[in-house]
Amino acid sequence: MSGMIATRDAYGETLAELGAENGDVVVLDADLSGSTKTSLFAKKFPGRFFNMGIAEANMVGTAAGLAAAGKVPFLSTFAIFAVGRAWEQVRQSVAYPKANVKVVATHGGVTVGEDGGSHQSVEDVAIMRAVPNMTVIVPADGVETRAAIRAAAATKGPFYIRLGRNKVPTVFPADYAFEIGKGSMLRPGSDLTFVTTGLMTAVALAAAEQLAAEGVSARVVHIGTVKPLDEEILVAAARETGAIVTAEEHSIVGGLGGAVAELLSEKCPVPVKRVGINDRFGTSGKAEELLKYFGLTAENLAATAREVLKAKG
């Protein structure tokens, strides 16, 4: 574990590499290329970059058309606009025809910070997860982001990849072998399992460390691909540790926590507690303050783990 990088930076750099490797890769943005980091691609490959202006619906449809013409379009804007403003375009023009479009949204979750609740998407993963044909990925760090972007480029079909604004700790080794639909056990444990996605994976690793000092053995399973879900690693975690705490920088409704609860209630019912945004909108503040405000901390994860252990009995 070393270094800090924002997943959006890793995205921009990887896109620029892909541009050199694959002449069919094209990129669209809606006036946020400096923030989403697609500007790195735009500088190198201006002929294959399309700024669509502040018009997300048309951007999504244009990407679908480019895919129909054989291109591999990546489109980027903030998560709230990609999924919110252009939801039906993503459904009709991308997911329904299984178009080869990669929706890579940055500024997911509350760590958008000062811009406040209007710009903090807390429901995008739930919304994209509900759409048939859609693969949903929330990388934990820069290493996984690079791998996920490359996997998406190499795999036909629609993808939703949710990235963040701020620097996050690197949790994966440089040689991490990412596989779509596969979770990763980052720490073994036998008393309970933290099931996490995005930046909460690093937080869960810290929580597991705290619990270890108390003699509690917490497993950490990172779910990079929220859909399709890695059922095997989750059912094994439930069976072997008997209690689950999910954690995500997203509403507890319908995201990773919802997906895990749906799965385990059918396949291996054990006590599950969900840590996330408790069905409310975000608010202005600094990213670090907001993570604390919403309980997205190692301390709260450890406290929730103690509760779920009581429920486990």
């Binding site: 669509m52 202006g53 619906a57 449809g61 244009t62 058309g65 013409a69």
Partner: protein
């Protein structure tokens, strides 16, 4: 050329007969807007567009996007007539397991390029196809038929802005301006006129024609291909339900198929007097 137009007119008449039969059989689907668009579709598939029904994925084909996807029957009869699939398939429209979905579906139907039907999204996809063709240096052109009611969707104007910005002269949009939508007259539900002025203001080359005059349609499509540096829109003034007198100009036939009683009368309007008792 006169003979060519006469052939197209006869083609369009036969396609209208196919539409009426198909919709009568399915007892579900959009009659009025299919009949208003069919002359343009006949001109595109049987005169203007380069395409290979035996090879729907031919990379150099011209592309057709039916933005007003509810007129799918009009595209389906043209595809069947051209040979993309057997004509018998038309009788399976909208049935479970049929490749002819209620609205155009690129996953199911040979010759359909994208999924349309949710209004306002087709022109954006046509733009994307046009950009992709240009990136590949292909001469292929893209044709997109919209409804006039569809122009009420804001995304159409986002796409209109972008097509002019990117100077997509390989794109030709056609507006099937039949003046009616589900709830009544377009001008009363939500006025979209002046359609030509709006597109001119967005930087398009604008042509206005009678959308049932095949000579005018073919001439406008040729003029669109000759225009350089801007996309072209052909604003085609049409009659909803055209060709079947008792369907014409009636919003009530937007999504209503011909009944058993109406079928022989509708076919008679189209010069078809064969019996269909066996259906």
């Amino acid at each position: 050329m006169k003979e060519r137009i006469a052939v197209l007119e006869e083609k369009a008449r036969n396609l209208r007969i196919d539409i009426v039969r198909m919709l009568h059989k399915s007892q579900s689907g959009h009659t009025g807007g299919s009949l208003s668009a069919i002359d343009m579709i006949a001109a595109l598939y049987f005169h203007t567009m380069n395409h290979r029904p035996e090879d729907p994925a031919w990379p150099d084909r011209d592309r057709f996007v039916l933005c007003k996807g509810h007129a799918a029957p009009a595209q389906y009869v043209a595809l069947a007539e051209a040979g993309y699939f057997p004509k018998e398939d038309l009788m399976m429209l909208r049935r479970l397991g049929s490749h002819l979905q209620g609205h155009p579906d690129s996953k199911s139907t040979p010759g359909v390029e994208v999924c349309t039907g949710s209004l306002g999204q087709g022109l954006s996809m046509a733009n994307g196809i046009a950009l992709g063709l240009r990136l590949d240096g292909r001469e292929s052109r893209v044709y997109a038929i919209m409804g006039d009611g569809e122009l009420q969707e804001g995304q159409v104007w986002e796409a209109a802005m972008a097509a002019a910005h990117y100077r997509l002269d390989n794109l030709c949009a056609l507006v099937d301006a039949n003046g009616l939508q589900i709830d009544g007259e377009v001008g009363k539900v939500m006025n979209v006129e002046s359609i030509p002025d709006k597109f001119r203001a967005f930087g398009w080359n604008v042509l206005e024609i009678d959308g049932h005059d095949l000579g005018a349609i073919v001439g406008a499509l040729d003029a669109a291909a000759a225009a350089k540096g801007t996309p072209t829109v052909i604003v085609a003034r049409t009659v909803k339900g055209k060709g079947v007198s008792f369907f014409e100009n009636k919003a009530s036939y937007h999504g209503v198929p011909p009944s058993d009683e109406e079928l022989p009368r509708a076919l008679a309007c189209l010069g078809c007097f064969e019996g269909f008792a066996s259906e």
